[in-house]
């Protein structure tokens, strides 16, 4: 039997970075306060002392400049890990991510690929208000040329990075900020994981709940509660928002005939809307009920704790949505 270890999400991300730095000398970490400060979420604490200022590279507050430099360094043969403090700040680099990273391979007729990895924190739940709490990974999943990963477990936090670095094209990794302090179990010898398949985190037969990132644990808690009242919920962790693993999504929906999508992004034009559309296009006649969604309320995420909590998907709202879809 594989020996399991308990670790925090933060340590798991760090373990992935250390492995990458040790395995490939072309890998370096670059971003605001990744070095001497140790990372704004403490992910890279101590790495500056071990690997030095060249490979753990502090940058000025120039998101467009250093994200673009990461893209350029990738074009020049390096394997940069660019860290952006939060997804809200990534908007300052959106030009580089969309107009260069996602575009150059196609625009150059296949001549120049961009093997850059861009990591950033996403999501709410820490009372950081409307400029540090949004969930914009669904936006990025709209863009051809990018891959969008959303590790929810410590094993994925540990293992997605290396696989992303081996990918010849740009990969964005969204780490939910509320997860860094959480603990989970993973195999002691956990290593790289594949990034093209969704994972069934809990098997069930009555309703499929499709989710990712910071909402996974809320969905598992809701499933636990529903189990007690006799509803068997299958929880699917999407893991990757682009490309979506349609096969796993459809297989689960065909099994349960009912689906709820839980997405911390805003409802309008969201990744959950895209998933609903795909289910409707492909599994319409398999459905026993309309597909439901639990999303963030359509407001800039507020500061006050009770308002923030109310704005986000929570186990009780997920339970309610599942009950409704189940039809009593």
């Amino acid at each position: 039997m594989t020996q399991m270890v308990t670790t925090t999400y933060r340590e798991a991300v760090k373990g992935g970075i250390v492995e990458a730095l040790d395995r490939d000398e072309r890998v370096f970490l670059m971003g605001e306060d990744v070095g001497k400060y140790g990372g704004c979420y403490g992910v890279s604490k101590g790495l500056y002392q071990t690997y030095g200022s060249e490979r753990i590279r502090d940058t000025p507050l120039s998101e467009s400049g250093f994200v673009g430099a990461g893209i350029g360094a990738a074009l020049g043969g390096m394997r940069p890990i660019v860290e952006i403090m939060t997804v809200n700040f990534s908007l300052l680099a959106l030009d580089q991510i969309l107009n260069n990273a996602a575009t150059i391979l196609h625009m150059s007729g296949g001549q120049f690929n961009v093997p850059v990895v861009i990591r950033m924190a996403t999501g709410a739940g820490r009372q950081l208000a409307a400029q540090h709490s949004h969930s914009l990974e669904g936006w990025y999943a709209h863009i051809p040329g990018l891959k969008v990963l959303t590790p929810a477990t410590v094993a994925d936090a540990r293992g997605m990075l290396w696989t992303a670095l081996e990918d010849p094209d740009p990969v964005l990794i969204f780490e939910h900020a509320a997860l860094y302090n959480t603990q989970g179990e993973m195999p002691a010898d956990a290593g790289p994981v594949e990034i093209h398949k969704a994972a069934v985190r809990r098997e069930g037969s009555d309703v499929t709940v499709l989710t990712y990132g910071g909402s996974l644990h809320k969905c598992l808690a809701a499933a636990e509660q529903l189990d007690k009242e006799g509803t068997s919920v299958e929880v699917v962790d999407l893991r990757t928002l682009r490309p979506l693993d349609d096969e796993t999504i459809f297989a689960s929906v065909r099994k349960t005939h009912r689906a709820v999508i839980v997405d911390e992004g805003w409802r309008s034009g969201s990744i959950s809307a895209e998933i609903m559309a795909r289910i409707m296009e492909t599994c319409f006649f398999e459905l026993d009920a309309p597909v439901a969604r639990v999303c963030a309320a359509e407001v800039p995420i507020p500061y006050a704790k009770h308002l923030e909590e109310f704005a986000l998907p929570q186990p009780n709202t997920i339970v309610a949505a599942v009950r409704q879809v189940k039809g009593g």
């Binding site: 400049g65 673009g68 430099a69 074009l75 391979l105 625009m107 150059s108 007729g109």
Partner: protein, 326 residues
């Protein structure tokens, strides 16, 4: 700055390169009016001395980043006239397989990292390419062209700061043609001394007459030497002027015809030919022979583009992701 005496072969080479760009673009404008080229077509006519003078000083393994007005840069760098014309015809034989068009010429063989149509969008990439060279211990130089309009963008400032902070081997080349599309330089910059802006980041800077190919060549030689020696980035501003409209859709309401005519008197080809004649380095027969050879190259490029193939629509989604990946 020291100017070596102008020798016959070198003078002919510089002139030939400038005339190649001029005739190529005149032809491009003509076939555009015939509907063979569509989309945007930004002509470099008037600015040829900059591209030619810069490229003289680069090695094959150096990298070039350019803008949407990049036919001249690409030709002077050694991208073939055939593949550029085919690109503008949208043919698969084009240097970007018809995916880029006039504004997005790419060529891996000459390390030509594209025309970038986001103003200042190429500067951070140049910083990154230079960072990769520095981290891997290579003495290559990355040069990045942009217009004076780019100086108003945040990416200009972020990039110069990063390049100097990290002492990166990148050469920033600002083609100041006085108009950001239709907005005059003095109507967009509070501080019009661009060298001052570069110097404020600690980047050495020099301004030169971009209509004079020898002056461009000499200034860039010094700047490249500085960058290649590991002393960090350098900035060069070229005072130049585009004789044609911004694009084929521009009625030029923002500038006087007299101003254009005055600048044409300083045209880089006109003045250089005059200088060569004065020095006895050019006669009518030589010029006619040169023009004939170039005419042949341009006609050949057009025929090549005409004969080219349109890529199958089955291949539309190729190159969104690298094929080895899933």
């Amino acid at each position: 700055m020291t100017e070596p005496p102008l020798e016959h072969d070198r003078a002919h080479h510089l002139l030939r390169q400038m005339v190649r760009i001029r005739r190529f673009e005149e032809k491009a404008a003509q076939v555009y009016t015939e509907g063979k080229i569509r989309g945007f077509l930004h002509l470099y006519i008037g600015e040829e001395a900059v591209a030619v003078g810069v490229m003289e000083n680069l090695r094959e393994d150096d990298a070039v980043l350019s803008t949407y007005r990049e036919h001249g840069h690409a030709l002077a760098r050694g991208v073939s006239a055939r593949s550029i014309m085919a690109e503008m015809y949208g043919k698969v034989e084009g240097c970007s397989r018809g995916r880029g068009g006039s504004m997005h010429l790419f060529d891996a063989d000459t390390r030509f990292y594209g025309g970038n149509a986001i103003v200042a969008g190429g500067l951070p990439l140049a910083v990154g390419l230079a960072l990769a060279d520095k981290m891997q211990g290579r003495d290559r130089v990355t040069v990045c062209f942009f217009g004076e309009g780019a100086v108003a963008e945040g990416e200009f400032h972020e990039s110069l700061n990063l390049a100097e902070l990290w002492r990166l081997p990148v050469l920033f080349l600002c083609e100041n043609n006085l108009y950001a599309m239709g907005t005059a330089f003095e109507r967009s910059e509070a501080e019009m001394d661009l060298c001052k802006k570069a110097q404020s980041y600690g980047v050495p800077a020099v301004a030169v007459d971009g209509m004079n190919v020898i002056e461009v060549d000499t200034a860039v030689r010094d700047a490249v030497a500085h960058v290649r020696s590991g002393r960090g980035p350098h900035f060069v501003e070229f005072h130049t002027y585009r004789f044609r409209a911004h694009s084929m859709f521009d009625a030029q309401l923002y500038r006087d015809k007299e101003e254009v005519e005055e600048w044409k008197k300083r045209g880089p080809i006109l003045t250089f030919q005059r200088k060569m004649r004065e020095l006895g380095l050019l006669d009518d027969a030589e010029l006619e022979a040169m023009e004939a050879e170039i005419r042949e190259e341009v006609e050949d490029a057009v025929e090549y583009a005409d004969r080219g193939t349109l890529e199958s629509t089955d291949d539309l989604t190729k190159y969104v992701y690298t094929e080895v990946s899933r």
